[in-house]
Amino acid sequence: MNLLEYFARHHREILQATLEHVWLVGIAMLLAVAVGVPLGVLVARRPWLSKPILGGANIAETIPSLALFGFLLPVPWLGDRADRLAIAALALYALLPIIRNTAAGISGVDAAIRDAARGMGMTDRQILLQVELPLSFSTMLAGIRVATVLTVGIATIAAAVGAGGLGEFIFRGLAMVNNQLILAGAIPAALLALVADFLLGVCERRWQPARS
């Protein structure tokens, strides 16, 4: 009961924090997709680039999130604003699954289909845009889905550098040893992750390429 009362009394702040959270994750994901998809295409096209690119993304993934926020703090333009910093860090985390799945999706396109496309006189660009990307779309979406769920969780740590979001409640709750406060951040964050997972899952199935 206490918890519900707390939610009822503070719904404005919780909503505010949730919107901040969605904003952080949303912008970070847009960035990660904008960078990750082309890198994934590059990995699929030039196998020798796969080690450095995937390796780099892998390293970003292994840095503890709190430490990554700290590392980025002294970077000139990024460190100026907390939300900027948080978005950059989150995008870095989201990168690996997006690159990996894009590359896997494109490499997974049947060689006969690529052969036919080339043989009929499609340019590399046309093959990429009309054949390879559409056919790997659902694999790419699966990567984006994993990355989004991951990012929703990690974004709670953004509050540590003052970027706001649902992490605010969690950190405040930890400091004050107040479970209600922690849950006020944790529950909406968990729900957010579930909703994102569900919606992207629906898209993924919707765009599943027809199998022969």
Partner: protein, 287 residues
């Protein structure tokens, strides 16, 4: 078989009455070629992999206008390599390949490939495209007006005996193997290319469908008068469809025959094929 020949007859009638577009207006006298001119020419052409393995060596071969040449050989003998040299999907490491009198290396590969129809074993239909989209691919790449595309697709479906209403909006996975094959041929013919390359085109079909589609194709071939190169490892297919049969073994052309000469050839690799063909004849029994 009966079904296939029925279909063929229907085609002939239909074409006779209405006279189809560019495709069918040419005469069907395929054996007499007074103005015979080379359309595809291999001159000492060879190809090897970057690791040095030779896939094709010193190939000399001329394909005349309107002729169907079958390249026969086992898997890995170099037949597909020869085919891909024609539309510049591979470039000859030695010698030259000429298409319509010009070296493939002098031609823009994209423009060259759009003048050459290409059909491969698994057909390579795009699974995310409908039959209509698959067939209209090259016309769309060439920016044909929408109306002309629609008319052409209808004409091609008619040509390969597929009902327009029924198949236009279907996806490849909703088709049988034989239907996919027909769509693949229709797609290759879409922009009315003078040359058609076919790599094991009927390889993925069961024997009965295969025979049916082969007969249909033979009929089509008679009417379209394209210059065709077919790659296969089936002797019967070579004998049925080829005006000439080139036997390729270990990256070299070991013999070039008319179907009639083929059965009497003494060259060892060819003789192995004819022996194989005779075995089947025996199985089929007298008459």
């Amino acid at each position: 078989m009966a079904l296939a020949s029925l279909r063929g007859t229907r085609h002939l009638l239909w074409a006779g009455v209405h006279g189809m577009s560019a495709d069918t207006e040419r005469t069907s006298e395929r054996s007499s070629l007074p103005d015979s001119q080379p359309v595809i020419e291999f001159r000492h052409a060879g190809y090897k992999l970057p690791n040095g393995r030779v896939l094709l060596h010193d190939l000399n071969l001329v394909v005349q206008r309107g002729e169907t040449l079958v390249l026969l050989g086992r898997s890995g003998a170099g037949k597909s390599t020869a085919l891909k040299l024609i539309n510049r999907m591979l470039e000859p490491g030695e010698g030259a390949v000429l298409v319509e009198g010009r070296s493939t290396l002098e031609r823009d590969p994209i423009e060259l490939r759009r003048r050459i129809g290409y059909v491969i074993q698994e057909v390579g239909l795009f699974p995310h495209f409908t039959v209509e989209q698959n067939i209209s691919l090259v016309p769309r790449l060439e920016h044909w007006p929408e109306e002309r595309i629609r008319a052409r697709v209808a004409e091609l479906l008619q040509l390969v005996s597929l009902d327009q209403q029924e198949f236009l909006r279907r996806y490849p996975h909703q088709l049988s193997g034989g239907q996919r094959q027909r769509v693949g041929v229709a797609r290759a013919l879409a922009a009315d290319p003078p040359i058609l390359l076919m790599d094991e085109p009927f390889g993925a079909l069961d024997p009965l469908t295969r025979a049916e589609v082969q007969c249909e194709f033979q009929e089509l071939q008679r009417r379209l008068q394209k210059t065709i190169v077919i790659v296969t490892h089936h002797v019967a297919e070579a004998l049925l469809l080829g005006d000439r049969i080139g036997v390729i073994d270990a990256g070299a052309l070991v013999g070039l025959y008319t179907p009639k000469d083929f059965m009497g050839a003494t060259e060892p690799v060819t003789a192995a094929y004819t022996a194989n063909a005779r075995m089947f004849e025996k199985l089929e029994g007298p008459g």
